[in-house]
Amino acid sequence: MRLHEHEAARFFQQAGLPVPSFAVVRSADEAVGALGHVGLPVVLKAQVLVGSRGKHGGILLASTPEEAREKTAALLAKTVRGLAVESVMVAKAVPIARELYVGVTVDAVAGAITVILGTAGGIDVETVAKEQPEALFRKTVVPPAELHGHEARALARAAGFRGDLMVKIADVLVALYRVFRKSDALIAEVNPLAVTADEALWAVDAVLEVDDAALFRHPEMPKDTLARIEHPIERAAKQIGVSYVDLDGDIAIISSGAGLGMATMDVVGQRLKPANFLETGGGITEELMYKTTSLVLQKPGIRGLLINLYGGINPIHEGAKGVVRVLKERQIRIPVVAKALGNRQEETWATLKEAGVIIVTDITTEAAVDALCAALETRKG
């Protein structure tokens, strides 16, 4: 789950990172009210969960109360990269002399944690990695080890910093690493980390993405995980515990595994257009398949449904009953093809067949797509 900037900033502040004073407001009046505590000039930042807000007009500067009022109202009235702005972060503006980058992330190559210090900040770190790799300095830490102060100082020294500034940067790195570990994060990032003319450091941005799988042990995290999913069908899917990704086509797909789902998309995509990716994971029940089948058929204009299941951990014979219930209740007339193999496959086939589902017993997904294409042709003729 990606946190809003102001949520991340709160956690960063609690961990001792130098975060400029800020408030979160939902109206222009509230913005003016917050100025007493935040102090002018301020940066007004749209709280939407997308990157490059600055480029898309989501970050504005205000030096007077009038400006703060007008610009907050303007931000709250607009959408940034398609997302409505519901709140604005009002943060004390800092006079920036130089921008750095600090980030902590999971490194898939090492299977460990990477701490990154960049001598160029404010721009996308991936762009820096490509165009100025010499500006990035990394340290791999294998948890449960901490990032020690001396290691952080060595990293800051390697990046060319000396004196008080070197020590302050190291402190920021250690604090950021602690937040990353403490919150089970996938990424914790400050970009830019601002340096003022008198060498004070300010975290003028805050990015924190928390591992969904670890939310059970983080009561301090926001509870509205579902509300943060933009697409209505993707949100409904998450609610029933399956994974859905919306695509452009008109052939609905249900698969019992992620790899199988992607392969099904690949094969369908050669001749037809997939409407979605959907995988049930290992939790199939009659009820789950009932909800899942209803879900993929929700999208307007679906021409066919391909069901691709393996009964390993999944009781596919139970799932079949759920599919059949939807087809009967909603009197579905489009062709439905099922390839369902594994434990108790014969029982599964019998249940589906009775409801008019075309059964494919061949092991290849190609065979299922052949059957679907043939059925679609017949309908046309």
Binding site: D184, V245, Q270
Partner: protein, 294 residues
């Protein structure tokens, strides 16, 4: 022949008294797996499917000589249980459990290296040596009765089943099918599993079933180019994956241009692998390899 698991391997089932643990123990036994013990804390002294249940791993190992363990343990208890299992001397662990926090996985990965152990997963269907034994949830009835000479390594579960079946249908049955798991961080790297197949005289070639996201396939490609002498067939799922969307598996995501099918295919092709564009093409390619003199 096989890697890691055969019919004599003495297998422990952790979380054996849960609903899934019980059901899968039955399937594993029916397949021929030599299951010697189960563990569920608090249930010591009981039995499941005729298998004695213990409270802890050390006790189970002492009583039965268990040497490999398969996990049907809830996500929040997995890290602690893996540490217990390694401490008790077991060096092959199959973590079937999904949705394990990645910070836990990183710690387990480090611990596995300290103990020089092979841990498969998380989110793996397990390992199946055709006609002999299986640890995990791979359905045995999808495979022929007798194993062949094709190794399979898959990030995905269900797709491994399909590919195993396709290979068998092509007349090139699998030897051992290994699910390596589909999380952003895995406990054992693809390249390290390839090393077991390199050393197995019963495996002639290996099929890699990859998918979008992460960098496992690219890392394996470096190893293949450098050291792996047997032919490799590779299929990478997810050609039509939109950027930034997680395709079911926590690790299956193309992010900031990284982890795409194109980059994986390019790396593997450069390393000399035969690339299948669809799962069915794996069968055709495997038949082609079968015709070449060994």
């Amino acid at each position: 022949m096989s890697i890691l698991l055969n019919k004599t391997t003495r297998v422990l089932v952790q979380g054996i008294t849960g609903k899934i643990g019980q059901a899968q123990t039955k399937w594993m036994k029916e397949y021929g797996t030599n299951i010697v013990a189960g563990v569920t804390p608090g249930r010591g002294g009981g039995s499941v499917e005729g298998v004695p249940v213990f409270d802890g791993v050390a006790e189970a190992v002492k009583a039965t000589g268990a040497e490999a363990s398969v996990f049907f343990v809830p996500a929040r208890a997995v890290k602690d249980t893996v540490f217990e299992t390694l401490e008790a001397g077991i060096r092959l662990v199959v973590v079937v459990t999904e949705h394990i926090p990645v910070h836990d996985t990183m710690e387990m990965r480090a611990e596995a290296k300290n103990f020089n152990a092979t841990l498969l997963g998380p989110t793996t269907p397990g390992i199946l040596t055709v006609g002999e034994a299986k640890m995990g949830i791979i359905p045995g009835n999808l495979f022929p009765k007798v194993g062949g000479r094709a190794g399979v390594i898959s990030r995905s579960g269900t797709l491994a089943y399909e590919v195993g079946g396709i290979l068998a249908k092509a007349g090139t049955a699998p030897s051992t099918v290994v699910g390596m798991g589909a999380d952003p961080v895995v406990l054992t790297d693809l390249a390290d599993i390839l090393k077991f197949f390199a050393a197995d005289p019963g495996t002639d070639f290996v099929t890699i079933v990859g998918e979008v996201g992460g960098i496992q396939e690219e890392m394996a490609a470096e190893y293949i180019a450098r050291d792996f002498k047997k032919p490799v067939i590779a299929y990478i799922a997810g050609r039509n994956t939109p950027e930034g969307k997680r395709m079911g598996h926590a690790g299956a995501i193309v992010q900031r241009g990284m982890g795409s099918v194109q980059s994986k295919v390019a790396a593997l092709e450069k390393a000399g692998a035969h690339i299948a564009k669809t799962p069915a093409e794996i069968g055709t390619l495997a038949q082609g390899l079968g015709k070449k003199p060994a």
